[in-house]
Subunit: 335 residues, 2 copies
C-alpha cells in the first residue's frame, strides 16, 4: 500500500516572483491583499497564476502578521484530556468558532514550564489561546503570547492569571461537592479514585484536595485509591474493598465509576448499601447503570456564549464576561 511521495522542494515566494517576473515584495503585496500598494490588474493576475502553478501557500504566521489577523484558536490539550473531560463541549465549541470564521487547533505539546509552552504555542501565531488547564499558565507566559500577537487568552483556572481572561474552573469544588453529598448521606470513610492514566492527575489532584478539605471540616476521612481504566485493576481494587473498609467513594468520573460499580458487584459488595458511589460528568449512559449512578454535572458557559466572548476579545479587544464552571450534583440510586 505504501508509495514514496514526490520529493518536491518547498516552494517559496521567491520562486513565485521569478516565474511571474516581479519582485518578491510585489508577490507579498498581491498574496496578502495589502491595500497600501497599488499593483496593476495584469501584474496581480500574473502573480496569482504563478502562485497557482507552483502551488505556493503563504505561511500562516507571515500572513497573520501582515494582515493583522490569524483565524486559529489554539487549545493546549491532549486528546484524552479534552476528550474525557469536556469532549462534547469542545466539539460544539469547534462549530461555534467556525461560525465566527475561526479554526480550533489542539496542541498536545508538553513543556517543562509555562513560558516554554507559551513560546511553542506562539510560534503558530494563533489569534487566541484557550487554556483548559489554565492553572499551569503564568503572567510571563501570557506576556510571551501577547508579544507574539495573540489577541486574547482565555484560561479555565482556579485562580486569576495576570493578563488572561480567567473562567473560573476550580476542580477542587467537584471533589468537595461529591464528598459533601456523601457525608450528608451519612458516609464517613470515603475513598477518592486517582486514575493512573496519563494527563488526568492535573484534574484528579485538585479534586482530591477539595474532598480532603470537606473531610477536614467533618468527622469523615478521605483515602486516595489508585485505579487504572482496566477490568483487572478494578477487580483488584474491589477485591481489597472490605480490607479498605470504605463506605463511600468519589470515583473521579462516570467511566471509572461504571468500571468500579461492576467490579464491586462481582465481588458481592452492594451499592449503595455497603458503599455509596459518585461519578462525575453525568454521561448519557450513567443514568442507565445498575444502580443508576449519582454524578457531578459540570455546567459550563455554553459553547455559543464562549465563542461569542472569544470573538469580542479578539475582534474588538473587549473584556468579555464569561461565567465560570458550576458543579451540580445529580442524585441517583448509587448513593
Amino acid at each position: 500500500m505504501d508509495k514514496k511521495p514526490t520529493a518536491a522542494a518547498a516552494v517559496t515566494s521567491a520562486d513565485v516572483a521569478r516565474l511571474a517576473g516581479v519582485s518578491r515584495a510585489t508577490v507579498s503585496f498581491v498574496l496578502n491583499n495589502t491595500q497600501a500598494h497599488r499593483v496593476s490588474d495584469t501584474t496581480r493576475s500574473r502573480v496569482l497564476a504563478a502562485a497557482e502553478q507552483l502551488g505556493y501557500v503563504p505561511h500562516a504566521a507571515a500572513r497573520s502578521l501582515r494582515a493583522g489577523r490569524s483565524n486559529l484558536v489554539l487549545m493546549p490539550a491532549s486528546v484524552s484530556a479534552a476528550g474525557r473531560l469536556v469532549s462534547e463541549w469542545v466539539d460544539d465549541l469547534e462549530s461555534e468558532l467556525e461560525r465566527h470564521g475561526y479554526v480550533l487547533v489542539l496542541h498536545a505539546g508538553r513543556f517543562p514550564d509555562p513560558v516554554s509552552a507559551a513560546r511553542a504555542w506562539a510560534e503558530l501565531r494563533p489569534a487566541a489561546v484557550v487554556a483548559l488547564e489554565g492553572d499551569s499558565l503564568s503572567g510571563p507566559a501570557v506576556d510571551v503570547l501577547s508579544r507574539a500577537g495573540v489577541r486574547g487568552v482565555m484560561a479555565f483556572a482556579s485562580r486569576e492569571v495576570t493578563g488572561a481572561h480567567t473562567v473560573d474552573f476550580d476542580q477542587s469544588r467537584i471533589g468537595a461537592l461529591a464528598v459533601e453529598h456523601l457525608v450528608a448521606q451519612g458516609r464517613r470513610r470515603i475513598g477518592v479514585v486517582m486514575p493512573r492514566e496519563r494527563g488526568l492527575a492535573t484534574f484528579a489532584r485538585p479534586r482530591l484536595a477539595g474532598a480532603e478539605g470537606v473531610a477536614a471540616r467533618s468527622t469523615a476521612t478521605v483515602t486516595p485509591v489508585d485505579l487504572s481504566y482496566t477490568h483487572e485493576s478494578a477487580a483488584e481494587l474491589a477485591g481489597r474493598w472490605r480490607e479498605l473498609d470504605l463506605d463511600g467513594v468519589f470515583a473521579y468520573n462516570d467511566e471509572y465509576a461504571a468500571l468500579l460499580l461492576h467490579a464491586l458487584r462481582e465481588e458481592g459488595v452492594s451499592v449503595p448499601e455497603d458503599v455509596a458511589v459518585v461519578g462525575c460528568d453525568d454521561l448519557v449512559l450513567s443514568a442507565l447503570q445498575q444502580p443508576p449512578l449519582t454524578s457531578v454535572r459540570l455546567d459550563l458557559p455554553t459553547p455559543a456564549q464562549f465563542a461569542d466572548a472569544l470573538h469580542e476579545l479578539v475582534d474588538r479587544g473587549a473584556s468579555p464576561q464569561v461565567r465560570g464552571m458550576e458543579p451540580v450534583l445529580v442524585h441517583r440510586r448509587s448513593s
Copy 2:
C-alpha cells in the same frame, strides 16, 4: 474574574535588530542557528539578549523553512471524531511522537475540497500530516503539502492516495464483518444505526455500504435507522422496533449500542432473542453490558510502530511499511 490583557504590539525581528544594533539578517542567522554565516560571540549574545528582553518568538513557519525542519505532526480531525473513534490510540500516538521530538496538533477546520484543506494545513508548515479520514484527501492536495515542505503524509484510507503513504483503513469492512456475523447467526432483517451527530457520517456511510454489500450476497436485507445519542432518540427507536421488524442490528459503535440495548430492554424487546446487537470499538465497558456486547475490535498498527514509521519518513524520506487496520469480531452474548 475577567481582566483586560495588556495590549502589547506584536514584536518582530526588526525590533530585535534595532535593539541589538544589528541587521535583520543577523538576527535571523543567530535565532535560526544558521551555520553558513559567521557571527561573533559578542554579536550573538547581544541578539539573544535583545530577543529575550523583547520576548521575541520566531515564527514556526519561518524557522522550520530555514532550519529545514518542523516538529509538528498535523492531524486533521475534530475532537469528537478522534475521540470517539480512536481516542486511546491517538493519545498513545502523542506520547510516541514526543519520544521522537514531535508534537501532535489536531486541526479541526472543515473545508469545501481537499486542496483548500491542504492549503490551510500547509500554512502551519508541519513536518508531516496524518489523515484519519484519508478518503477525503487527493493527489493534488498531497502535492500542495509537499510543495509547502511537508515531508510525509500518512493517510488512513480505503484506497491509495497518490503521493501519500496509505494505511489501509476501509470502514466498509467493519460493517461487512458485523453483518456477516449477524447473517451467520441466522439473522435476515438487519438494521444499521446511522448516528445523527456531526462528523460521524464519514465513518457511518462506508460502514453501511459494507453492510449492504454483504446483504446483497445473501438473503438478508439491510435497513438504515437514524439515531441521536440521547435517551429520547433511543426510546423512540425502540418504540418502533416491532413495526420495523428487525432481528439484528449493527449499532455503529459500542456507545450507540449500549444506549440502544437499554432502550430495547425498557421496551420489552429481548436481546439477543428478538434482536441480536453488534457494536464496534470493543470499549472497556462493553463486556459489562447486560447482556455483554458483541463488538468489532479495530486492530491498528501500534502507536509506537506508527510513530517510528512516520519518523523514518520525515527524517530519512524512507518508505515505511505500516500494516492496515484489521477488524476483528469479539463475540459475546448480545448476538
